[in-house]
Symmetry: C2
Subunit: 391 residues, 2 copies
């Protein structure tokens, strides 16, 4: 299912504890064009800092990833460790150090257990092709309850090619760079600039528009590789092929984002918050995030309580200009608020809330812009998972 | 204990359900100077809108308050109902309508059950003096688990006087106007302008610096009355008496704010987040709020997990300029992070976290400004309370 020319391996290094694969390697048979977007948190993990330098070249051939330890807030030692991981992989695989990217996820503030990792890293680099993409997705999980993989196969420029995306993330999912780690691989040939533009616009409307707990990670990384082995000519600007390629990448990131929210720590329901009729997309986004981040809204959804007062209240404090007397609110297609007032359909709405996927729509009737944010409900289980994470 | 010349009454109207007093009346024997601050939410409840008009006069004599229904998102009917409540109290007490203020707290989006409220409101106005201030504090509770009352007695300008504050609030406690309702009464004589200035600065550093769930209510109201019956001459600008008076009011609002956080829905611990060494107070406040609002920090505190990575991460996304390699972090006096790195004192910190009151200090070493924000831990009980609020 994976695109042509990508090979994978995984290994167990007991980074956090033994009993599972926790380092993975993604390799392209040939040098690939590479694009990336990274956390905007002022605190950036060592692997993020390393990748941000590398990505300027726009070229890469391998990505090494570990779960169990984020290598964040680890100072100079963290930078040294990240570089050593790359160096071991480079030596073992014969791929130049400049072409090896790195990502980490897990606990913050503890140095990597390099003593336990060196030998497995050598094994990893010597076993390229020993695992499938699905196993990589499994290896990079932390509090995720299922691996997240999406494939699209399409014909562009006369040739068939594949785009595959994997990601991990279930907590610390916030306005920016929701997924902690996401890797998108394709065998289509795509120019450097085009690849970066496509990735940024896709991430902007998918991973950057999901929220689980409003926290933003130090490690968020999205890397995209295009190795050209499908054999197409690079897409031309404004071509139909490019439009189709962009759409496919957008679908992949959106579907992955949806999987992340579905897997939100302790979540029982997926909630789509659509704010429409806004003056600007920025207004719509701010209002949608205020609703999606409200603990009161999220607990009400969990409790099957069509408590629209909490929704209108969140829009009220979002900071956008807002006339409550113009606003309509819907749970799915049930209009619970008409012109800012109760529409006496709470019973139907309560029934609708029992579904696993719910859409909350706020129509501001102030303009034509809209924005959609994905979130989940907030449950006792979220508390349990996060109160006990390190223990 | 209450200041001279203030009388109270309470009554049961089954606003939400029967079995408890739910409307209260505060009356000053004489006209008083009056100051107020109100929610900055764009959605303002009818009683808030009514009070915001009245407060321009700077004068008042009574406050009628109900719990069980917020009279918010209730449109023109809500405004009519708020005015009718005032009118009934005015007729029954003989106090001019302009001098009667109003506040409501409870569920949003449902009209007040005026049919059930009219007769009790008449009873209330006819029974002035039939209750104590503590009973008013009890009457205005919603999800609060205890009434919140603070008194200060002091001698100023040669006369003894009292300042008393009551408040309610346990959820929807957010950056601005944390308490949904707070009433401060004093028998000292204070000029209109002075009273407003003292109230605003006190609220700015107390109620506006506490957060439970990041949500901001539609009804937040702080009203302060000064009836002058202690017999002092009005405080002069820059006088020592005024400084003492201001300090007393600041202490009252801070202590009330602390009580609100202690009573945070489901909270088991009070958490003081102090950010110091910031370039500006605004920076310090932003960073402190990011930490105090982080669900991950709050659940870690609940789970006795000295997970400082979540703290440094929250400072990182707060939006202030931040150099992690300069930052120190403390749990109480235990330095868990030194220059942005683990200081290997997590075991001691974990033990310290078992206390009921915890201080998290972040020293940015970037300047001399500081800010303190109060919050609480996030627990399964918060979810239970808010998932089932309306049912």
């Amino acid at each position: 299912m994976a695109p042509k020319g990508y090979l994978f391996s995984t290994v167990e290094a007991a980074v956090k504890k033994p009993g599972r694969k926790d380092i993975a390697l993604i390799v392209s048979a040939v040098e690939a064009e590479m694009a990336g977007t990274f956390t905007t948190n002022a605190v950036k993990a060592a692997p993020v800092r390393v990748c941000m330098k590398k990505i300027a070249s726009g070229t890469g051939q391998a990505i090494v990833v570990n779960s169990g330890n984020a290598n964040a807030c680890t100072g100079l030692q963290g930078m040294k460790d990240a570089r050593e991981m790359i160096s071991i992989v480079s030596k073992g695989s014969g791929i130049g150090q400049d072409l090896v990217y790195i990502a980490s996820t897990g606990v913050i503030g503890m140095p990597l257990p390099m003593d336990r990792m060196r030998q497995p890293l050598r094994t990893l680099a010597g076993d390229i092709g020993g695992a499938a993409l699905d196993e990589v997705a499994q290896t990079i999980m932390t509090t995720d309850t299922f691996p997240k993989v999406v494939h699209k196969r399409l014909k562009l420029g006369g040739v068939s090619g594949t785009i595959s995306g994997i990601c991990k993330g279930a907590g610390m999912i916030a306005p920016n760079m929701a997924t902690m780690l996401c890797f998108i691989l394709t065998d289509f040939a795509v120019g450097k600039k085009t690849l970066t533009a496509v990735l940024k616009s896709s991430v902007g409307r998918s991973f950057n528009r999901i929220t689980i707990d409003g926290d933003m990670s130090t490690n968020d990384t999205v890397l995209m590789m295009a190795n050209g082995l499908a054999g197409n000519a690079q897409f031309k600007t404004d071509s139909l092929d490019l439009a189709k390629f962009r759409k496919a990448v957008e679908e992949i990131t959106y579907e992955l984002a949806e999987l992340v929210v579905k897997d939100g720590e302790g979540a029982t329901k997926l909630v789509e918050v659509l704010v429409k009729g806004a003056r600007t997309e920025r207004d719509a986004e701010k209002a949608a995030f205020a609703v999606a981040n409200s603990s009161l809204v999220k607990t009400a959804v969990y409790g099957n309580d069509a408590n629209w007062g909490r929704i209108i209240c969140a829009v009220g404090y979002s900071g956008i200009p807002f006339k409550e007397e113009k606003a309509d609110i819907f749970f799915n297609n049930i209009k619970v608020v008409k012109n800012g007032l109760a529409n006496n359909r709470d019973k139907e709405a309560t029934a609708a809330l029992k579904a696993k996927k719910i859409r909350i729509t706020v129509d501001l009737h102030a303009g034509r812009a809209s924005a959609k944010v994905l979130t989940c409900d907030l449950t006792e289980e979220y508390i349990r998972i996060n109160a006990e994470y390190r223990t």
